[in-house]
C-alpha cells in the first residue's frame, strides 16, 4: 500500500510506460536524465543576469527568444558544487507545470549527451540512506551500462514553496 502510494506521488517519469525517451546530460561528472518531452530547446550559454536575493539555484535569468526565463543550476539545489563553465556547457530549456501554469526554465549543464530510451525494468527508487544528495529531489535511479543515471524530480525541485531561502539577509 505504502509503496503503491509513493509510486503515484513521485513517479513522474514512467507514468505506466515501459520505455521512456529521455535526454541525458552531465553535471559534475554524474549522468542525469530528464523526460525528453518536456525539453524545449538546447542552447549554448547565454549572457546571464543575476537576480539579487533569489534562491541560489535560481540565481539568474536569461533572455530566451524575447522571454525572460529563470536559469537554474540544479547542482546547487542538490547541494553539489557549482562547477566552472566549459566549452561543452549548455542550457536545456524545459517547460514545467508550476502550480497549474506552464513555466519555462533553463537548466545549466556541463554537457548534453543524447536522447535515449530508458526501461522502467531497470529503475529503482532512490535509497533512503547513503545518498550524497537530498533523496526527495530524486525521482528514481536507472541502471544502464553499469552506471546509474539519476532522474531528478524537477517538479519537487522547482515547487514554489521549497525551503524558504533566498532572503536578503541570511548572513
Amino acid at each position: 500500500m505504502n509503496k503503491h502510494l509513493r509510486k503515484h506521488e513521485t513517479d513522474l517519469l514512467w507514468r505506466d510506460r515501459e520505455d521512456v525517451a529521455v535526454l541525458t546530460f552531465n553535471l559534475n561528472g554524474e549522468t542525469f536524465a530528464i523526460d525528453a518531452t518536456v525539453v524545449q530547446e538546447i542552447l549554448d550559454l547565454l549572457p546571464e543576469t543575476r537576480v539579487p536575493g533569489a534562491k541560489a539555484f535560481l540565481g539568474g535569468v536569461i533572455n530566451f527568444r524575447g522571454k525572460v526565463i529563470p536559469l537554474a543550476d540544479i547542482r546547487l539545489a542538490f547541494g553539489m558544487e557549482a562547477g566552472e563553465t566549459t566549452i561543452d556547457s549548455r542550457i536545456i530549456v524545459v517547460q514545467l507545470d508550476i502550480e497549474g501554469e506552464p513555466c519555462l526554465v533553463g537548466i545549466r549543464t556541463d554537457k548534453v549527451y543524447e536522447v535515449t530510451t530508458l526501461a522502467q525494468a531497470s529503475s529503482e527508487p532512490p535509497p533512503s540512506v547513503g545518498m550524497r544528495w537530498r533523496a526527495d529531489f530524486i525521482d528514481c535511479l536507472v541502471k544502464r551500462n553499469g552506471e546509474f543515471i539519476i532522474v531528478p524530480n524537477l517538479k519537487k525541485i522547482f515547487s514554489v514553496d521549497v525551503t524558504p531561502t533566498g532572503m536578503f539577509f541570511t548572513g
Binding site: 549572457p47 543576469t49 543575476r50 537576480v51 539579487p52 536575493g53 533569489a54 534562491k55 535560481l58 535569468v61 536569461i62 533572455n63 524575447g66 522571454k67 525572460v68 526565463i69 529563470p70 537554474a72 508550476i98 502550480e99 501554469e101 513555466c103 519555462l104 526554465v105 522547482f158 514554489v160 524558504p164 533566498g166 536578503f168 539577509f169
Partner: protein
C-alpha cells in the same frame, strides 16, 4: 478572421443592454417622470426581447416581453412609473441575466414570482386606468384630447441600411404599421437594386416613398414611433405635404403594389425641398469598433517587441558614424514612441465604467441593510489600463461592501451622533504621477482599533500587547482570516475578501493606504501604477548589472561627492536642501562584490510620503522599458517588479521601488539593532 459564435455575440450585446436598462432604471428612481429614461428602458427591453428570440433564448424573450409590456404602458402614459415598478424591473433584470447565462436552467418559479410582483406594481395603478392619470405630463395629455383632429397628409421617404434584414428588421412589418396609421400610398424605389449577378439575397436595396393621410393627433411622433428601433441607422425624410390632398403631385403618385414595383422615375423626389430631415439622421454616429481584448494584447506585445528592436537600432546608430543611419534611427525612435503612446491610450478605459456598477450595489445594499446610503463618485473620467480595471472590480466591491456593512451606522444611530441621516460613501479616482489613486471613503463610525487588536491577538496574528504603528494595526484587517464583524452577515464578515483585495492590489504592483478616524469614518486608498505593459525607466548600473528604475518614481539625480560618501558611512543619511534623505547603497544591497565606482551617483526616488536615495555606480539614461513578468519561480524575490530586455539582448531587472525601500528599512533596522 474567425467569426464569433453568434450566441456569444448576443451575450455581449445583452450585457451592454443590461447596463443601459439598469442605468435608465436607476436614473428613473431619481426622477420618475423622466420620459427620455422611460423610452431608453423600453427600447433596451424591446431590443433584448427581439435579439433574445432571434438567438434562441426563448425563455428570456418570453419573460422580457412582460417587462416590456409594463414599460410600454408607462411610456404611453397608461400607468405612471413608480418606485415599486422600477424596483420590480430591477429585480426582474437580474433574472434576465440568469436567463442569458443559463438559458436551460430551471428558472420557472423565480420568473413567475417576479412577474407577480411586476403585475402588482403595474396592475394596482392600472385599475385606476388612464382616466385618473391626469398628473402625468405630455404623453397623457395628448390622449385625453382625442377630439378627432383634422386629417394631415405626410410624405415619408425612407431607406433602411443594406443589412437591415440580416439584423432582423422586417420592412414589410414597418409598412404595415404605417398603414395602420391611416390611408397609405406606398411606392418602392428600386433604382438602387444592383444587377442580378451582384445581388445578395439577404441585402435590402429597396427604399420606399409613403404618402400617408392620417387623423392621428400627433402624426409626426406616431410615424417616428414606427421606426423607433431602426431610426439610428436609417435615412428618412419626413415632411408634411399639406392638410388636404393637393393635385400638384397627383400625376406621379400612382399607387404601385409592392410586388410589381417597376424602375421608378426619380425626378419627382427632388421637386419638393426636403423640409425637415429627421433629427436622428443628422446626429453624427459615434464611431466605435469592438475589438476582442486578446487582439489588443497581441498588438501590445508586438509594440513591445518593436520598442526593443528600436532600442537596439538606437544603440547601433549611436556608435556608428553614419549620419543617415542616425537620422533614420531617430525617426524610428520617435515613431515607435508615438505608437507606444497611442497603444497605451487604446488600452485606457475611464474609471467611470467601473464606478457605474456600484450604483446598483449600493441600491441593493441599502435595501438589505435598512441603512440610508448616498453614493458619490468623483473623477470618473480618470483613465486606467483596462486590465487594471477588470482586476479591480472585485476588490472594490469588497471594499464598498465593507464600508457599508461595517462602517456606516443605522439612520437613528447617525442622527444620535449628530450626523446626516444618510451615510455617504465616496468613490473617487485621480491620477498622480505614474499612479492612479482610487479611494473609498465613508463617513461612518470608523475602524475600532481596540477590536482590531483584540481580534488579531485572539487569532494569533500579533503577540498580546505587541507595539504596532497605527498604520500597521489598520493593515491587519487585510490579513487572511481576519474579520471584526461580530456576526457574519450576508454582505461581509467572512474574513475572505479583504486579503483578496490585498493580493489583487499587490499583484497589480499597487499599495493600500488606510486612514480612519473613530466616529468620523474611514478612507482606503488603492494606489495602482497606471499601466502594466510599458514604462519609462531610468537605466542605471550597479556593479556589473543593469537595472531599471521607473521614471515616474524618480525625483532627481545627483552625485554623491567623495566627502559626503565618507561622511555618510554608518548613518546613511544625506542632507538634501535642508531635508534629511536616507539612502541605500544598491551595491551592498545586491551584494555585487565589486569595488564601488569612483564617483557614486544617487537617484532620489519618492514612494508615497518618503523620499529615498538609491546609490548606484552609473546612471546610463532614459530607457523605454517593456515590462516582462518575472517567472513564477522568482515570485519570492519582491525587490523586482519585472524584467526587461535591453538593446543588446541582455536582461535588466526593474526595481520595485516600494518594496526596495521596505527592504532597505529592514536592513537599516537590523544594522541598528546589531550595532
Amino acid at each position: 478572421m474567425n467569426l464569433m459564435d453568434p450566441v456569444q455575440v448576443f451575450r455581449m450585446e445583452a450585457a451592454e443592454l443590461f447596463v443601459v436598462i439598469e442605468e435608465g432604471l436607476l436614473d428613473l428612481l431619481g426622477d420618475l417622470s423622466n420620459q427620455a429614461q422611460i423610452d431608453a428602458v423600453f427600447r433596451g427591453l424591446h431590443t433584448l426581447k427581439g435579439s433574445g428570440a432571434m438567438f434562441g433564448f426563448e425563455a428570456l424573450a418570453a419573460f422580457t416581453h412582460h417587462c416590456e409590456t409594463a414599460f410600454d404602458r408607462v411610456r404611453k402614459g397608461e400607468v405612471p412609473a413608480t418606485a415599486e415598478l422600477v424596483a420590480a424591473v430591477l429585480e426582474a433584470q437580474d433574472h434576465m441575466k440568469a436567463l442569458v447565462d443559463t438559458p436551460n436552467g430551471d428558472h420557472e418559479a423565480t420568473g413567475n414570482g417576479l412577474l407577480a410582483k411586476l403585475q402588482a406594481a403595474v396592475g394596482a395603478k392600472a385599475a385606476q386606468g388612464c382616466v385618473v392619470a391626469a398628473p402625468l405630463p405630455a404623453a397623457v395629455a395628448s390622449i385625453s384630447t382625442t377630439a378627432a383632429p383634422a386629417a394631415t397628409r405626410w410624405r415619408l421617404r425612407f431607406r433602411l441600411p443594406v443589412n437591415a434584414m440580416a439584423n432582423g428588421t422586417n420592412p414589410l412589418g414597418l409598412l404595415d404599421e404605417l398603414a395602420e396609421l391611416g390611408d397609405c400610398t406606398i411606392k418602392a424605389e428600386t433604382s438602387a437594386i444592383p444587377s442580378l449577378d451582384a445581388i445578395e439575397p439577404d441585402d435590402l436595396h429597396i427604399g420606399w416613398t409613403v404618402e400617408l393621410t392620417t387623423t392621428q393627433p400627433q402624426p409626426r411622433a406616431a410615424i417616428e414611433d414606427v421606426f423607433i428601433f431602426v431610426m439610428d441607422d436609417m435615412e428618412m425624410v419626413l415632411e408634411e405635404v399639406s392638410s388636404a390632398p393637393t393635385p400638384a403631385v397627383a400625376p406621379t403618385s400612382v399607387a404601385l403594389p409592392l410586388a410589381e414595383a417597376a424602375p421608378s422615375e426619380p425626378a419627382r423626389a427632388v421637386n419638393t425641398a426636403p423640409a425637415i430631415a429627421d433629427a436622428k439622421q443628422t446626429k453624427p454616429a459615434a464611431e466605435n469598433v469592438r475589438v476582442p481584448a486578446e487582439r489588443l494584447d497581441e498588438l501590445m506585445d508586438r509594440v513591445g517587441e518593436l520598442v526593443i528592436a528600436q532600442s537596439r537600432l538606437s544603440q547601433l546608430a549611436g556608435v556608428s558614424a553614419d549620419i543617415q543611419l542616425r537620422s533614420v534611427s531617430e525617426d524610428v525612435e520617435r515613431l515607435s514612441g508615438e505608437l507606444r503612446d497611442t497603444m497605451m491610450v487604446l488600452r485606457m478605459v475611464p474609471v467611470g465604467s467601473l464606478f457605474g456598477r456600484f450604483r446598483r450595489l449600493v441600491h441593493d445594499l441599502a435595501r438589505e441593510t435598512g441603512k440610508e446610503i448616498e453614493l458619490v463618485t468623483e473623477g470618473e473620467t480618470t483613465e486606467v489600463d483596462k486590465t487594471v480595471i477588470e482586476r479591480l472590480a472585485d476588490p472594490l466591491v469588497h471594499l464598498v461592501r465593507n464600508s457599508i456593512d461595517h462602517g456606516l451606522e443605522m439612520p437613528e444611530e447617525r442622527l444620535a451622533s449628530g450626523k446626516a441621516r444618510a451615510g455617504r460613501v465616496t468613490l473617487s479616482a485621480r491620477q498622480a504621477g505614474g499612479e492612479v489613486i482610487i479611494t473609498i471613503r465613508d463617513d461612518g463610525r470608523g475602524i475600532d482599533r481596540e477590536r482590531v487588536r483584540a481580534k488579531a491577538e485572539a487569532s494569533g496574528l500579533i503577540q498580546p500587547g505587541q507595539m504596532l504603528l497605527d498604520q500597521e494595526l489598520l493593515q491587519l484587517i487585510l490579513q487572511p482570516g481576519f474579520s471584526t464583524a461580530a456576526q457574519i452577515t450576508s454582505l461581509s464578515g467572512r474574513g475572505v475578501g479583504m486579503d483578496v483585495v490585498k493580493k489583487t492590489v499587490e499583484a497589480l504592483r499597487g499599495v493600500i493606504d488606510m486612514h480612519s478616524t473613530p466616529g468620523e469614518g474611514s478612507e482606503i486608498s488603492l494606489r495602482i501604477p497606471l499601466t502594466l505593459a510599458i514604462i519609462d525607466g531610468l537605466l542605471v548600473r550597479v556593479g556589473t548589472g543593469s537595472y531599471v528604475i521607473p521614471l515616474s518614481a524618480v525625483e532627481e539625480c545627483l552625485e554623491l561627492s567623495a566627502e559626503e560618501d565618507l561622511r555618510s558611512r554608518g548613518r546613511s543619511f544625506i542632507s538634501l536642501r535642508d531635508h534629511l534623505v536616507p539612502f541605500l547603497r544598491l551595491r551592498e544591497l545586491f551584494r555585487t562584490g565589486t569595488p564601488p565606482d569612483r564617483y557614486q551617483k544617487m537617484v532620489v526616488i519618492s514612494t508615497g510620503n518618503e523620499r529615498v536615495g538609491l546609490v548606484v555606480d552609473q546612471i546610463i539614461g532614459d530607457h523605454q522599458t517593456v515590462i516582462k513578468a518575472m517567472s513564477k519561480l522568482h515570485h519570492d524575490v519582491v525587490t523586482f517588479s519585472g524584467a526587461t530586455i535591453l538593446g543588446d539582448g541582455n536582461v535588466a531587472l526593474i526595481l520595485d521601488v516600494t518594496h526596495l525601500v521596505t527592504v532597505g528599512q529592514q536592513q537599516e533596522a537590523q544594522l541598528r539593532a546589531a550595532g
